[in-house]
């Protein structure tokens, strides 16, 4: 056979075409494909989540006090997704970043898996597992002994909040035991409640009718950075944006840094840090001078606007005289760094606007503002007459629930309760304040306290992390010989405890959720167990009842079988609604009329807080009773600390007692956290002045402490200001959380409000020195 080159070529052409169109190669490869894709049955080693019956369970999120309704998607008994509950009056289907990441609190790391007793030194991390019954009996034995020794009042409780059945149960425990020292962690709500008590005579929270307001003057409130009930405010903000397009709404944000709220506002007013009260009074000056205030309301329903004469015939200064004298736009401009024309223009806009609203509480509202500052900002609402009006402010009463039987106090309890509070709240020093956590460290570390604390119960709070001047707080708390933590997670405080009695997480338990801060209607939510407890934990309410029953002499005050029956009894007729809807809303609520709305002795709204006088605060200066700007004197001299440090509060970093789940940390920009370095924001001008470039490593020094940071240049920060993110720098929990950045509370100290005694430190003096 002879095959020439040409012949061969022809053969190839033909055969190639033939094979191309035959099914042979195709079929062979298909077989290999199928074999390889099902190799070992599954594609590589990745978990295959089991399927199962789908269940949706409704509950209320308690990761923040926002009170949002959630619906949890479950596959059999696994919770796989948290979503916002449709139709819930607070969030209607929306959910915040922390809530949606909530499963990490349940399934993630750092859960305390059962009762623990400290084995090594404090904070060493050595624990001994112990049974619930043994733990309860050991703790109650210890507490009984303290009680027997006549030191019942030296036992304190730090609680994250003071409203709701669980904090009240702790309070009851102390009352029956004989200690007045129930201390709740501070927030701007403390000042606001105090202000309302003085100006309107009511024990109530300020309700802001944000949904209906159309001109929002925010004095540094991080309206969309986590202030109030976050989702609710987001929704209000969206409504404003819709109205703003039509020219019907306007938001003005007064803040030294261009926060998200400032960026989304229609106008950003970059004010000198801490001078908000001066600006508010500057606005008041313009409004009063130009007679733009609501004459009907101010003349007929307010007290202390004009000068007044007391029973002894002494003439007292009214708001009008003080404001007109002390807060002319020139003066205010000098203080705040805002131009006179802008002050005048904004004041006029506010007074002219349909449904104006002034909002206060800096950032998320985790630090209280000064009492007089609150009064100054709140006075703007009064001047335009939006108290108890649509789109205005109102004193929001607590939802009424069935009262508990009275506490059966024995002699020891009575004696203990007669002792002054350790934190001096309600004593002569600070007669109007209920609780002063910030006083603890000063009194304890200097030994100036009326007595020494011998035991501490901590629930829903993480003071070792969240308190200003962290080091001083740690030193103070460490000196308490006996600490019991009820935390579900191994947080910084639990780390320093002697016993940990772990509670169920929010998805494993019942709890009532009181009206969140700032809401405009009274509401109560019900948090429900969505899944069975993952670990050997217990409902904190049951733990407290168990303690109450086993501490000598106080069992009579704890008659309930368990927390669930207590809650059911407390909610009374609302229980069925709570179970059905997940919340109970006071549908009939409407703010009181002006004529009957004020419970002050004068029956009017009081610009001049006579309540302070009655409480025993004596001053010859009438200004001490009026809304006023009194500069907060930050520690440290401007020579060594030329800059001002302010915190950056963001929704993406949970900075309270609930730590940031890794999902959130993942969303944080690399200009906030890079590897384990935290970035502080400075204006490029400031950076240039201190020889710092983008990303430069520097020491941030304040009178409270010093930390290593990196600098991020941001045009949105006022020159001369350094801004530090909060919510980082945990030393407890798991590897996903700890060691990332620094805790801003290490460098922010405390500043005491002269009247309330609350810590009102909105920042600190600071210096920033580059490290080469």
């Amino acid at each position: 056979m002879s095959l020439g080159r040409r012949g061969f070529l022809q053969f190839c052409l033909g055969a190639g075409a033939g094979i191309t169109f035959s099914p042979l190669p195709w079929k062979l490869m298909d077989d290999i494909s199928i074999w390889s894709q099902t190799f070992r049955g599954i594609p590589i080693e990745v978990p295959v989540p089991p399927v199962g019956e789908v269940n949706i369970e409704k509950s209320v999120c308690t990761l923040c006090p926002g009170g949002c309704g959630i619906s949890v998607r479950k596959i059999k008994n696994r919770a796989v997704k948290i979503e916002g509950a449709e139709g819930h009056p607070i969030n209607d289907g929306g959910i915040c970043i922390l809530g949606v990441a909530g499963l990490y609190q349940l399934y993630g790391g750092a859960r305390v898996k059962g009762p623990l007793k400290r084995a090594g030194n404090r904070g060493e991390g050595k624990w001994e597992e112990i049974s619930w019954s043994a733990a309860i009996s050991e703790i109650s034995k210890k507490l009984s002994q303290i009680r027997r020794n006549g030191s019942a009042h030296t036992v304190a409780c730090i609680s994250g909040k003071d409203r709701g059945t669980v904090p009240q149960l702790f309070k009851r425990l102390l009352t029956a035991y004989g200690s007045p020292n129930f201390i709740s962690m501070p927030s701007s709500e403390d000042t606001e409640r105090l202000g309302l008590k003085l100006m309107q005579g009511e024990d109530a929270s300020v309700g802001y009718d944000l949904e209906n307001a159309r001109y929002i003057l925010s004095f540094g409130s991080g309206l969309i950075d986590g202030w109030g009930s976050p989702v609710r405010v987001f929704r209000a903000n969206s409504a404003w944006r819709e109205e703003a397009v039509k020219g019907l709404a306007k938001v003005v944000q007064i803040e030294p840094r261009l926060s998200n709220t400032a960026a989304k506002a229609d106008r950003w007013v970059p004010i000198a840090p801490g001078t908000e009260a001066a600006l508010a009074l500057g606005f008041a000056h313009v409004i009063i001078k130009e007679r733009r205030y609501n004459k009907n309301f101010v003349m007929n329903h307010c007290f202390g606007f004009e000068d007044w004469t007391d029973n002894s015939g002494k003439v007292h200064k009214g708001l009008k005289r003080m404001v007109l004298k002390d807060y002319s736009p020139d003066v205010v401009s000098e203080i705040t760094g805002i131009s006179v024309s802008k002050i005048v223009a904004l004041a006029r806009e506010f007074a002219r606007a349909k449904r104006p609203l002034a909002v206060c509480g800096r950032g998320k509202g985790s630090t209280p503002e000064g009492l007089q500052e609150f009064m100054a900002i709140y006075a703007l609402n009064t001047l335009v007459g939006n108290i108890n009006k649509t789109g205005g402010v109102r004193a929001l009463p607590e939802v009424r629930t069935t009262a508990w039987p009275g506490v059966a106090q024995d002699a020891i309890a009575k004696r203990g309760m007669n002792q002054p509070r350790f934190d001096r709240a309600g004593t002569k020093a600070f007669p109007v304040t209920e609780s002063l956590f910030n006083q603890l460290s000063g009194l304890m570390n200097t030994g100036k306290g009326a007595y020494t604390l011998s035991a501490l119960l901590v629930y829903g709070a993480n003071p070792y992390y969240t308190a200003h001047d962290k080091a001083a707080v740690a030193e103070a708390l460490d000196s308490i010989p006996f600490i019991v933590s009820f935390s579900s997670h191994m947080d910084e405080t639990a780390q320093h405890a002697d016993f940990i009695l772990p509670s169920h997480t929010n998805l494993e338990r019942y709890e009532d959720v009181p009206t969140p801060a700032g809401l405009n209607v009274p509401i109560i939510g019900l948090s429900r167990p969505v899944v069975d407890p993952e670990y050997d934990t217990k409902h904190v309410g049951d733990t407290v009842i168990a303690l109450g029953k086993s501490i000598d002499g106080i069992a009579d005050s704890f008659v309930w079988d368990d927390y669930e029956s207590l809650l059911k009894e407390t909610m009374g007729g609302k229980w069925d609604t709570l179970i059905g809807e997940g919340y109970w809303k006071d549908a009939g609520y409407s703010p009181a009329a002006w004529s009957s709305g004020f419970k002050t002795p004068s029956g009017k709204f009081e610009f001049f807080a006579t309540g302070l006088y009655r409480a025993g605060i004596r001053s010859h200066n009438d200004n001490d009773y009026l809304p006023r700007y009194k500069p907060v004197v930050l520690e440290g001299d401007p020579g060594s600390y030329p800059l001002v440090l302010i915190p950056i509060e963001s929704t993406r970093l949970a900075d309270g007692a609930v730590a940031n789940p890794p999902y959130l940390t993942k969303t944080v920009a690399d200009t906030v956290l890079k590897n384990n370095d935290i970035f502080v924001e400075v204006n490029p001008k400031t950076a240039a002045a201190y020889g710092l470039s983008e990303g430069a490593v520097a020491m941030l020094k304040t009178p409270t402490g010093e930390v290593k940071v990196r600098t991020h240049m941001y045009e949105g920060v006022r020159p001369g200001v350094v801004a530090i993110p909060t919510g980082l720098g945990h030393s407890a929990y798991d590897d996903y959380l700890s060691g990332k950045g620094v805790n801003a509370n290490e460098v922010i100290g405390t500043v005491e409000d002269p009247i309330s005694g609350l810590d009102i430190a909105w920042g600190s003096r600071a210096s920033l020195v580059g490290i080469i």
């Binding site: 053969f11 190839c12 075409a17 195709w26 298909d30």
Partner: protein, 49 residues
């Protein structure tokens, strides 16, 4: 690549591409087979170049 894969949709591109591909592959295969067979035949014949 093939109609029995899911999300398949026919395209003129398939014809052109696969035509050219299998054409080239076939030529290579046939060429090699030819050279191999021919070598055996030559060996049988005892021819040595």
């Amino acid at each position: 690549m093939f109609p029995f894969c899911f999300e398949w949709h026919w395209d003129l591109g398939h014809m052109v591409f696969h035509g050219a591909l299998w054409y080239a592959l076939s030529i290579l295969g046939i060429g090699l087979t030819y050279a191999a067979i021919k070598s055996f035949i030559d060996l049988k014949k005892g021819g040595h170049h």
